[in-house]
């Protein structure tokens, strides 16, 4: 089926998210929409899926204009969506999830689970998926869950499949498998829209690449275009994709973790005897697929996690059992992985966010009162220093772009005297320009002699930043390797395979 988006314009208030976007997806074509986060890709797809109504423009399927007032209409017209965050009910089985929303029934409205099972088996067989219709979603690995999403879309006879950032949660191996699946779908005549900001994947799989920047189509490219060309289209200027840094000059061990174990509320082991040393002046990056204990490791150090066993010692001082405030005061800087949730207060201004951790002490407070003048001066100075682009320090942080929000977090965390710097997913969802800035700050921190712990699920970032890489799998450090280790080996380590 041919999909044509013609002159789509979508505004939110004064903000134009999509500005007269034209995209044509030919039948059996993999069409990549490439753009930074916030470029308007997801908005465009939500328009296509009937979740938003565009102010202008039209959607045509095989030349016939469509009017979708909800996802139901879009699905009936043959559009399927594989969401970035899976829309699956964890306690339902595969078959139950697949039939959800268009449940087959027998006489008198009795659910026909058997026909749903058969449908799952039939579609899985067609693509060699090997899905058990009776498996519960929560027991399946992430990559398999994604296949359930795909089967769900296909079971409604989707002719156009939209993949919204599908590789964000996958291991390199699972990513390769997904790319295989997309090719297979294409051979069977399905049109595919592949939304991504990852150049490598886009180049590997796409037939046509449309680059979107600030809500506009800024160009299209062949998959043969180089990464540099695509990146400069994405951000509108030439960028360097590598991190400029000198070899590390590591000193003594600063942070020493021994036998660190933890369980979550359900009693599942999240950290399983972690041993780790980080030296002054080195960047140690934790690689691994999301959900293998990295978040818990960072939270354990910072004091956000209770019930810990083992020891975490920073320059000889035990951190376990201390409050977050005590840990921060001991000289730990922390960039949390969920920036908008844990890093900033969106409704607070830039100035307020910059003093979130020390509103009650010198130089910002005397007694109970805040020294608002000092707070303002500090904010002005840090905004300049960290190049926070805004309409002034009284701007609410929630109105800033992800990159500028992260600059605020960095400015706050790096302006204390540090003995350890932890950054979780430091560039998640940022544009290329901001990524570069964040990376420079991290390297500068290392060069100042501070030990740096990076947690990232972006293998590219880990490899670019790290002086040493520790790979985590199921709460354990599987191995600590050099940054020039091959991606294949890193991939197997991330899957828990110790060769």
């Amino acid at each position: 089926m041919q999909l044509e988006l013609r002159g789509i314009t979508k505004r939110f208030g004064a903000f134009t998210a999509n500005d007269a976007i034209d995209v044509v997806v030919e039948p059996g074509q993999i069409h990549a929409l490439l753009g930074e986060n916030g470029a308007g890709k997801s908005t465009l797809m939500n328009v296509l899926y009937g979740l938003y109504r565009a102010e202008e423009g039209s959607i045509l399927l095989d030349g016939v204009e469509q009017h979708f007032s909800g996802p139901g209409d879009a699905m009936r017209a043959g559009i399927g969506m594989v969401h970035q965050h899976f829309m699956l009910v964890p306690v339902f089985t595969v078959a139950e999830n697949v039939m959800l929303g268009h449940e087959p029934t027998k006489a008198a409205g009795v659910l026909d689970l058997e026909s749903a099972r058969a449908r799952v088996r039939e579609i899985s067989a067609r693509f060699g998926f090997d899905l058990d219709p009776d498996a519960r979603i929560e027991d399946l690995p992430v990559g398999v869950q994604q296949r359930v999403e795909i089967v769900k879309a296909l079971s409604r006879d989707a002719k156009v499949l939209v993949f919204d950032e599908p590789t964000a949660v996958l291991t390199p191996q699972e990513t390769d498998e997904l790319i295989g699946i997309m090719r297979q779908l294409k051979e069977q005549g399905t049109s595919i829209v592949f939304i991504s900001h990852k150049l490598r994947e886009v180049r590997a799989v796409a037939d046509v690449i449309t680059v979107i920047r600030r809500g506009k189509v800024v160009g299209s490219a062949e998959p043969t275009a180089s990464s540099q060309e695509l990146a400069s289209l994405m951000v509108g200027r030439a960028v360097e994709l590598t991190v400029q840094k000198q070899p590390a000059n590591p000193g003594d061990v600063a942070l020493s973790i021994r036998g660190l174990s933890a369980r979550n509320e359900q009693g599942t082991v999240t950290l399983d005897g972690v041993d780790l040393d980080i030296h002054r002046g080195e960047i140690l990056a934790i690689a691994g697929v999301q959900g293998n204990g990295q978040t818990e490791l960072a939270n354990a150090i910072i004091g956000l996690l209770g019930g810990l066993e083992g020891s975490i010692s920073l320059e000889g001082r035990e951190l376990i059992g201390r409050s977050v405030k005590q840990v921060l005061d001991a000289g730990v800087g922390f960039v949390p992985e969920d920036r908008s949730h844990d890093g900033i207060v969106k409704e607070f201004t830039i100035a307020e966010n910059l003093i979130l951790d020390r509103s009650d002490r010198e130089p910002f407070a005397s007694g109970l009162s805040l020294k608002l003048g000092t707070v303002r001066e500090f904010a002005e100075q840090k905004s300049r220093e960290y190049d926070v682009r805004s309409q002034g320090i009284e701007t609410k942080v929630g109105r800033l772009s992800g990159g500028n929000q992260q600059k605020v977090v960095l400015a706050r965390e790096l302006s204390r005297p540090l003995k350890l710097f932890i950054a979780s997913q430091p560039t998640r969802g940022l544009d290329v320009g901001s990524i570069q800035f964040v990376h420079e700050q991290i390297v500068a921190t290392r060069d100042a002699g501070v030990p740096v712990l990076i947690v990232s699920t972006e293998l590219d970032e880990v490899v670019a930043l790290a002086d040493r890489i520790a790979v985590m799998y199921q709460g354990r450090i599987v191995d600590v390797v050099a940054p020039d280790t091959s991606r294949e080996r890193l991939g197997s380590l991330m899957a828990g395979v110790v060769a």
Binding site: F12, D329, G343, V345, E347, D357, S359, L370, L372
Partner: protein
């Protein structure tokens, strides 16, 4: 294609709604504009007017021959509504029929007497709102404060001036401790404060009823659940007529709470916790302690309300000492957008409604309940801002530019 489209819900708001946070509702209400509040008040008075007209006998009678002489019915409506609201104003603001200046201005002082506990208690709800907490426990806290203040007032012998001050402090502390329990339980166990405060209301009321039948609070020589009168030294001195110094204490509380949130680091932390507990925790703020402190402050304000009741107007403790102040306070805080001076204005409005409703009933025969209906509709409209925006064609927040743009486009077309 430039058709005027309905205002779009911005994505941020949508995300909050999907998170299903109760805090988002409070934030939505707090972020509303003054215009919206005034619109809600006006609308509620219009509905009140319709009810007054509909229940008026003259209007009902003239409606019978409406098509013969429509003017009669319209006149009757005007008489009924105008008379009722005129009486409301006379009872609440200014009485031109008074014999002396004091009598003419009597109503406004009566309004302020009613407003004093309402504003203090409204602040008690508002402070909790700022920390993302619902304080439904006003009733219990006011009872605790009034009991403590009253007990010091009649059972302790102290010199003048000092006596009223100690009684007030006791009232504040009593209520602060009672509310602090909620904070401690929430911080320690994660129990929800709405459940805790509601349950503690019952405990406070029943305990109070019981103490009123024991020598601790009961007046000697009576079998009624009533305390001895508070000693004259411990009463708030009168300023004008029934208006007492508790009003000034309330005004000081308004300024103190304004300072807390505008200028102090404690207020900063409370706001941070209210807007994003997780970010506050990650930045090293002890969220549990903030909950306890916030509830203690909220309770202290309820204690001022309770003290104003017992030391300002009631003088003796009875089971009905808290009245409906604890719940009206929620309305006052919502209407005041949880801002100190907003709460002051809202409290005075509600005080005026109460003061005026008596005159309205006495001189026009309109039931006092009309005022309750008006109050309830104010809350209803505040809780449904899109409804008010639609009626008054106000722009949605953040979409001012589009609204103006599409309007000018529409004008050209």
């Amino acid at each position: 294609m430039s058709a005027v489209t309905p205002p779009v819900v911005p994505p941020v708001e949508e995300r909050d709604r999907r998170d299903g946070k109760a805090g988002a509702v409070v934030r939505e209400i707090m972020s509303g504009s003054v215009v919206l509040s005034i619109a809600a008040i006006l609308l509620s008075f219009v509905i009140g007017g319709i009810l007054i007209a509909a229940s008026d006998e003259d209007v009902q009678e003239t409606a019978g021959y409406f098509f013969a002489r429509p003017g009669d019915m319209l006149g009757a409506i005007l008489d009924a509504v105008g008379g009722a609201y005129g009486a409301l104003l006379r009872g609440a603001v200014f009485n031109p029929r008074g014999d002396s200046l004091g009598e003419m201005l009597g109503p406004i002082s009566e309004t302020l007497v009613y407003a004093t506990p309402l504003v203090a208690a409204g602040l008690g709800v508002a402070v909790a709102f700022r920390a993302g907490l619902f304080n439904i426990g006003g009733t219990g806290q006011i009872v605790a404060g009034a009991a403590a203040a009253g007990w010091v007032g009649f059972a302790v012998d102290l010199p003048p001036v000092l006596h009223v001050i100690v009684a007030l402090v006791a009232g504040i502390l009593g209520a602060a401790v009672w509310a602090g329990i909620v904070g401690i339980l929430k911080a320690r166990t994660g129990a929800h404060e709405v459940i805790l405060t509601i349950m503690l209301n019952y405990i406070a009321l029943r305990l109070f009823d019981y103490l009123l039948t024991t020598p601790v609070l009961q007046q000697p020589g009576t079998v009624n659940p009533i305390s001895p009168p508070v000693s004259g030294d411990a009463m708030f001195p009168s300023m004008v007529g029934r208006l007492h110094w508790g009003f000034v204490v309330m005004l000081l509380a308004v300024v103190a709470i304004w300072w807390l949130f505008a200028k102090s680091n404690l207020g900063f932390k409370i706001r941070a916790v209210g807007l994003s507990p997780s970010a506050a925790r990650t930045a090293g703020i002890n969220v549990g302690i903030i909950y306890v402190v916030t509830f203690a402050i909220a309770g202290g304000l309820m204690g001022i309300a309770g003290s104003a009741q017992i030391l300002g107007t009631e003088r003796t403790l009875t089971g009905g000492i808290a009245g409906s102040i604890g719940f009206d306070a929620i309305t006052v805080a919502l209407l005041g957008r949880s801002k100190p001076f907003g709460v002051l204005a809202a409290g005075i409005l509600f005080g005026a409604l109460r003061a005026g409703s008596r005159t309205m009933q006495a001189s026009e025969g309109v039931p006092v309940d009309i005022v309750l209906v008006v109050q309830s509709f104010i809350v209803l409209f505040l809780a449904a801002p899109p409804l008010v925006r639609a009626i008054f064609r106000l722009p949605a927040p953040g979409s001012r530019a589009t609204a103006i743009l599409s309007r000018s486009k529409g004008a050209k077309a």
